[in-house]
Symmetry: C2
Subunit: 388 residues, 2 copies
């Protein structure tokens, strides 16, 4: 065949098909190497985990993570690929590293350990803390409903008691804790804070600390998880435990207990309340859920799954949160008034008033709204990665 003769359409297609198969084989080979490298990296970070425990270093160090990300972004630039891509890949690999390191930590025990009792330690969140204490080498005992009558001695010898029971019985459990050692640290993890902290201060004359872990029991480890800390009494005597929480990877937010409850009336109560109402509405409208999912882009799918996920969980957990906050009813009523204001604009077809209100809110959010848009776009892109 003459080299200069133009190849006909068929030959070009044949060639393209052959090239296509060849390139896909090469991609497969790259993928194999990629998996090998990730495995190698995981072995190295497992070693880091053991060394961190030996050296008593925290699981999660924001500065180290940021430095490592910056270095990798620079490598990406040098290789002429997207720094965002490399950052996302490294962060994803690091997430598993934290989980591995959290597990390997148990191999080493700390020198200064205290006798801990977790009341409700077989509950969902209680058992998470029991596991973490054990991994860090603390002797932990669990007290459950049935053990109550036989736990006096255990409690009197404890150096820390954590109350990890449902909100509705928190107060009655705390009221019984009158015979703790005066140096014992008393801690609760209820999702309201003002009443439990006051109750702990009444029952116990020693150090008191209120915690609100801002996550459910589904998490694997505390890395990057937020815990709200409300000081009760003798902050210097709870410092060791606050440091331990940091070692486990948690991010701590300090507020007083009243401020906590006010903020949670919006962050948790109103949010969960309106989500329950939204799910109830979907059911009453009897919408075709499969059809809606088929029609939904990642953003609407996300909004729908954030509603539906609630109903896979314990109704008591949510009713406790909603019913126990003192600000609940006035807060919800004010929200309803605002819905009615908007509805009136709609009924009178007053687009101008709607635009004015929209812009006022936009102004109030300030730079946050742009940040939120960018952050949620990143997340929606990740959500699209999953969907096929």
């Amino acid at each position: 065949m003459n080299k200069d003769k133009p190849v006909d359409q068929n030959d070009a297609l044949k060639q393209a098909k052959a090239d296509f198969a060849q390139v896909r084989n090469e991609i497969d080979s790259v993928d194999q190497q990629l998996v090998d490298l990730i495995a190698q990296r995981q072995q190295l970070t497992a070693k880091v985990g053991v060394l961190k425990a030996t050296l008593d270093l925290p699981l999660y160090v924001p500065e180290r993570e940021q430095a490592l990300i910056a270095k990798n972004r620079e490598l990406a630039r040098q290789s002429d690929i997207s720094p965002d891509l490399v950052e996302d890949v490294i962060r994803r690999i690091m997430r598993d590293s934290y989980a591995n390191q959290d597990r390997t930590r148990s191999q080493v025990s700390l020198s200064q350990s205290k006798r801990v009792v977790v009341i409700g330690g077989r509950g969902q969140l209680g058992s998470l803390f029991v596991r973490l204490f054990k991994q860090s080498g603390y002797p932990v005992e669990v007290v459950e409903k049935d053990d109550w009558d036989t736990s006096d001695e255990l409690l009197s010898k404890a150096e820390m008691v954590m109350v990890a029971v449902p909100i509705r019985i928190t107060n009655s459990v705390i009221k019984k804790l009158t015979k703790l050692n005066k140096d014992c640290l008393l801690v609760d993890i209820t999702s309201i804070k003002d009443a439990p902290v006051k109750s702990m201060l009444n029952s116990h004359c020693g150090p008191v600390l209120g915690l609100h872990p801002m996550f459910g029991p589904g998490i694997e480890n505390l890395a990057k998880q937020t815990i709200v800390v409300c000081q009760g009494r003798d902050a210097d005597k709870s410092k060791w435990f606050v440091e331990l929480l940091k070692t486990w990877g948690a991010k701590l937010a300090l507020v007083n207990s009243e401020q906590h409850d006010r903020l949670m009336a919006i962050v948790q109560v109103l949010r969960h309340f309106s989500t329950v109402a939204y799910g109830y509405h979907l059911k009453e409208e009897n919408i075709d859920l499969d059809k809606v999912l088929e029609l939904s882009s990642p953003i609407y799918r996300l909004e729908l799954i954030m509603v539906g996920r609630l109903f896979a969980q314990d109704s008591e957990l949510y009713s406790d949160i909603i019913f126990s906050n003192k600000e609940n009813i006035p807060m919800i009523k004010r929200f309803l008034e605002r819905l009615l204001t908007l509805l009136q604009m709609l009924e009178s077809e007053d687009k101008q008033a709607f635009a004015q209100l929209f812009n006022d809110v936009s102004h109030w959010f300030g730079e946050h709204s742009d940040e939120f848009l960018q952050e949620s776009n990143l997340l929606l892109a990740k959500a699209s990665d999953i969907r096929t």
Copy 2:
């Protein structure tokens, strides 16, 4: 030093510190190789993009993606690392591959191209379609407000006209399109469908197709994005365009235009309406946004940024969506009734009724709620990867 002599605490710490530095160096070296491999993979997938265009293959093929994921999960198992980790990493790399392939596509033009006119083609969503048509080698003309008087000839020669103007003027624009060629395909991309499709059928005697792209103008390409398709007339004559949408990577959902509008009254109207109300509420309560963010775990942060992101966008877009749907007011009123039902339970402290309602909704969601919980947990883990 005698090998058998027990090393003292200080020596052990020194050794651990030295090991720590050494392992971190090894991690850095693995990261360098990782970046090199990702770069190599991107070069290969860019080649795939050109070959796909030559062979007229779609940008996104679900089966191919699934096979590739399955293969990589198997590789992970063989290397004793988490298949989920490898899947997430590969999917993230593939997202950039789609974007690259979408860009390289422009290098090849298709044989069968049609003369396309996009009315409103300099708008946000209109210009996205103009770019996609151009990349696929279609001659595209744009008509904007000011060109209207001089566009008669352009429109009469068009083989496809896409109406990509804001909802509030869609109808008046369609009414003017009475002189199209009888074989010209008329398409709109408004987010309501019943009125525009009927209007197109009135103005034009040829093929008609209603689209609702379920995404904003921020997306990079159509890979995995949902477009709702409502058939108007002569489906066989719009088939080429439906196929083209698939080639661009879109997932198509077919419904009739009435059903579309009913579903969107929930999916879009009620959702946006209550989000606007929620943002308005936050502003009126004048909450300390920074404090709330500090206290928020990934899930509450996500809910907050999904509210705030709305207010970084165009108020007219949202007011058009909310005000133009005929079901808007009755739908919102029914939602308000449901909120009031729940509020009454709260006021009468009827936890039992609340639990009953919760469980009824849970039952109605069926298996979906568990699926949603798992899916949202995956996504929240990804959200945590980002936050530092």
